[in-house]
Symmetry: D2
Subunit: 400 residues, 4 copies
């Protein structure tokens, strides 16, 4: 067993995904759970010396006061996950990690923060905010004697943020930081990159997805990955569309209707925030199928579902001699539980990329994302092959 | 335009699949249909000089008296496919091809034939029956001046046929032909192989799937392929199971309930025939997932559905921290229309294999079959990659 | 056989519903169809001497030039209904009735008519338009020697039309007719009422649903009924919600997602028109269940579906000890074919009401409508009981 | 508050249903749950002075050693119901009631009991077994000073038991009791009736459903009701089929596929036991619709589902002009939680019937049962009207 210690810094730590990542890692650490849903638990990855559960130290930011245990209890009661006995067994671990969660940064601009999100550090402008986040990261690393800190954005989806010339180069961006020029997700991303921390954007928010930050990541030798974790309905699309393509069946329309509750659902109830999400979900099909088709994606907040997302997809396709046929599916998944193991996978793999000296966008991680950066391939199986090839490029003898 | 003429000999010609193959090829020939659902219409296959619609001459066997036009009209009226105008436009072509359909062979043994299947040639034993089929094939080839005849079994599913030592070698089998030793599907397969005709078994019946016939195909330099076309629910399984595997989600149970009417459905209403089908549908999941799981496949005959098959699949899986989630799908497809383009694909590809001098089982065709012979891989996308590799091994510059 | 002849005047005659009504009545008349889907074909109604298929003479208005045969052929080709043989058999009848279809009225105001809807009579104001429609109705009645003309609105859904004090009394309304004050549907309704024609509004448009016209109908002794035929998803809601109520299961959310193509779908693609429809579909559940709950109804136009509507409903309910459970359904129905028999039912029953001297809203017809006028009961089975009681109030010995 | 105390004697007490009844009544008693899912909590029943939660004393028989708390914990862990906090709050109550559960009776005949069901009293013949059960009931009543004891069968489904002339009259049956002549469910029923205890059969087992016991119940002035609680898929059928009937839509086929785990599912895995269940589920549709149609019901044991039952129903119907349309639904319910409130309802109502002097089959309770005794009406809403009429016959002013 090594003495390695690596930090996992979660932006939006007390949300459903951040909480589940923390419950999951502590449960794995204590041998109370199996690594189901973890891609990196598969034989292929066993030679990579990825960070093990007991080697992670968890911290992060959140605009809500609270604790991992409190959030976990809420998830258990509302969504029926985890189980009482498991939470008791990891309560102490959760409480230790809760101490590492800092208030979220908040730029003092026109948009006022909502009543419940008041665990914040007010900053005058993006420049100050970046500095504040950098300080939090440095303190975390120092206090716990960490070899490295990986930053992952698991906060609520932001509205679409319009880009302009200030976002095209590092210098233009850095010169604009005294005025409003970035959404919160990108402030955290900038701070992570400047602090040399590998960065993953698991949400559809802007994060590091602008030319200025992509270039900056290369300059700072920091690997980054994003964006928007591919957990459910979109994952299925990216597996089923290749089937229709392979059989030369012509998809005429593909309608997806998503309903979900919980914090993520509530955020999406705002039309601006929903727009980011829908946009992220609706680009794949023409890309995979190779022709335009009618697609429609809708997402509605349904309070009673809590963290359970149900998607209904209706695929109308034409077979031989113009015969119209139909496939429908429903997917009933618990979003946080689908997302959390992928966050752990990504943290492990971006840390690995950092160790291997990679920087900028790590394209072989595309299979984890709805809107993979720097990659136009949306076919899940082709993306998976890229990931396998990448692993084997580093460890040629890795198991199939 | 070449002067090439190739025969397509359909066993069970007037059934739904055989009829749709014939309507389809004549419609394609007259420019009345697009090649939707034809895998070999994709760019990858364009350099292979595959047999074109106008180059096929269709014939076959059937135990029913009838005609392609009559069967096609029945399908149109009951299942709402083809359209009136299309059938009128190809009626003459259908009638020409109907003339090439010979009565089915019938061995004079204990099991008596049913009343409606009385378009038969009574044979004393398998030896006579094989000779009769060979004569039909030779006549067909000679009358139409064909370069080659491809034989495809699209007849109703037979009950499981037990194998013994007589089926292990060509000599043992050939010495047993004066007594009952083969089901009808295998008698046709034997005749095809002895006549040098490439053979495809699109059904779950025995066909050429016994050591004696596989060896004989090699000896006669005849390529063969089978068995049981992967058209609907099983196709979906072989595309979705790899997704669960890739994400390390643990499938706990996978239940598939199929309902269909039509001739195929009616045959499956007999428990013995159903057994063949269910067996063919139920082997893939443990193979792809790599662990045992509870699976259940049922098929029921529902008269009102005619040729439309509806499958409902319920997939119960465990995600992170043991959280149980569910995917369900329904598939509403018209069986004959899904099968027919694959039959055309297989006819084109097995003819190509023959031209390239391949013999015995053509394993790269596995992606077309529920129970691919000589292949243990059931993952549809890996099977597809094998097909692509095979094409490129013959034509390295083939399009992606 | 009587010498009775009754007119059926369809507003929007060449649309899917109007066309199917006409194909249906002519097919029934010629003994080519069974009265499946016709409520009034049930034993209960056999003593009422309702108008029989051969007694109807069909006419109407449409803003499209065309014919019943042309529309019917289009429906057959796109949506796979009717069948070629049936349409040939009734072609002559359809052509006779097509001659009775007049151009639609069009008020010469700011909103210009679209290019394809150019089969119109331009009118200077509502007053002229009403006069024009009255003339059409009188001519129809006179030419064919009809005992009565029943007017049914089956035209496309209009946007919501705001009401004001002009719509509160007959006199106020009649004094306003020289300026824009009514949507087209209400102009037709006013003309019907003034002409003494029983009027049915099968759409969510305004029609006769304003105090001024309801009072006018009473004054003119004209029975009216509406609005918005209950054909599919809403029908199911009104049958299933009573089940949850009867078992005291608490529905927490009910989400309905509708997709459809065809002319109706295309109209709904306009947000203003969609609003009328969604509003009509979303009022029932709290009424039946007796408590507020989260409901969501969406409708999207999916071109490839043509006249087939698919609805997916997700019902999330709480059982004993707060246990959350789920029911989902999908409904795949052909809208015109579901609507047409109900239009025939309503025409027969409102004619019956007229014969019996009823006037104003005929409330016992509530079971046919999504937004039944003058009735707060949405439980389908209670509504059906009201219909049965009404029948028995006229014919006490009617069969169960 | 009265001093009334009434016994609820559950046969199969520690099964999922019996356990949930007990958790439910104790939770209601302590104000920890709302009466959701209880029909008798509706306003209609408020004047009937039905037995309140705190007035029940629970006991019963079970062939498994165990306790309510143990069973409840198992259900919580496997099926995610109840919640940890609730079970802790009622643990003492459960433990008190567990003391009242007696071993099951077991006749010493050829069929040997299985290993895990060994909490039994061996009896030589039915006569002894009945005497033993009577003694248990008397002791229970005496020890707790109960006004009355209601007996409810919630044990596992038995195989179909063939009837003969011994089962036609009380005297014939009572004279046969020294030899094997009744399944266990009927032995309990006989003992209940002889002890003057109202009896409810919530399962498809024989119970009191034989002429001899129905007559005996009348002679002993004991009200009885059964059989097979209508909790899920069959309930939906009995609400949806009337809709198709009301609209004169012709159902061509209705296929139901049920999957479930848990104890009930495991029992049904035995073909003989499954036969009872399927038979009970398959009789309603032709009765409600009024014509024969193809129906198919299947039930499969799927271990991973535990106590959650999923039903998929596919309804294929013909609309106007022979147009085929489809409705599908899936129902995901937790069987024990659906059944338990109905058991409480039935216990309250059969006690009420006893107080009102009713005896023999209480037909107005038909809406609770899949195979209602003495009643041919299967339409849920008509059955519900019968129940309402019965209530009002006793209390004319009961609320709607």
């Amino acid at each position: 067993m090594t003495n390695r210690k690596v930090g996992l810094w979660l932006i939006g730590a007390f949300g459903g995904v951040g909480t589940t990542v923390t419950v999951g890692l502590t449960s794995l650490c204590r041998g109370l759970a199996q690594p189901i849903g973890l891609v990196t638990a598969k034989p292929l990855f066993q030679n990579l010396d990825l960070v093990e559960p007991h080697e992670w130290v968890i911290g992060g930011h959140d605009v809500r006061a609270g604790s991992f245990y409190e959030s976990a209890t809420g998830l258990m009661e509302r969504s029926g996950v985890f189980g009482y006995a498991l939470l008791q067994a990891v309560k102490n671990d959760l409480d230790q990690f809760s101490k590492n969660v800092q208030p979220g940064i908040w730029i003092n601009e026109s948009s006022t923060h909502t009543g419940e999100n008041n665990h914040i550090v007010l900053c005058q402008n993006p420049k100050n905010a970046v500095a504040q986040v950098c300080e939090h990261l440095q303190t975390f690393k120092k206090v716990h004697g960490l070899d490295r800190v990986v930053v992952v954005n698991v906060a609520s989806t932001e509205p679409i943020y319009p880009l302009d010339e200030r976002h095209q180069s590092p210098s233009a961006l850095l010169n604009s930081l005294t005025e409003p020029c970035l959404p919160p997700s990108s402030i955290y991303a900038l701070a992570a990159i400047q602090s040399g921390c590998p960065y993953v954007n698991f949400t559809p928010s802007l994060g590091a997805s602008l030319p200025a930050l992509e270039l900056l990541a290369q300059q700072h030798k920091v690997p980054i990955a994003g964006k928007d974790g591919k957990t459910g309905e979109t994952l299925l699309k990216s597996a089923l569309a290749p089937l229709f393509a392979a059989r030369n069946l012509r998809v005429r329309s593909w309608v997806g209707h998503n309903i979900l509750g919980g914090g993520d659902g509530r955020t999406l109830n705002s039309p601006a925030n929903k727009e980011s999400k829908v946009k992220s979900k609706d680009v794949q099909l023409p890309s995979i199928l190779g022709y335009p088709l009618q697609t429609h994606v809708s997402i509605e907040y349904v309070e009673s579902l809590d963290d359970w997302k149900t998607a209904w997809d209706h695929i109308h396709f034409e077979g031989f001699l113009g015969t119209k046929m139909t496939m429908q599916f429903t997917w009933q998944g618990c979003d946080s539980l689908l997302a959390a193991p992928l966050v752990i996978d990504l943290a492990r793999l971006i840390d690995f990329a950092a160790r291997k000296g990679e920087s900028g966008i790590v394209k072989p991680l595309a299979c984890f994302f709805k809107s993979p950066e720097g990659v136009t391939e949306h076919d899940f199986f082709k993306q998976t092959t890229e990931l396998e090839n990448w692993v084997r490029s580093h460890h040629p003898l890795s198991a199939r």
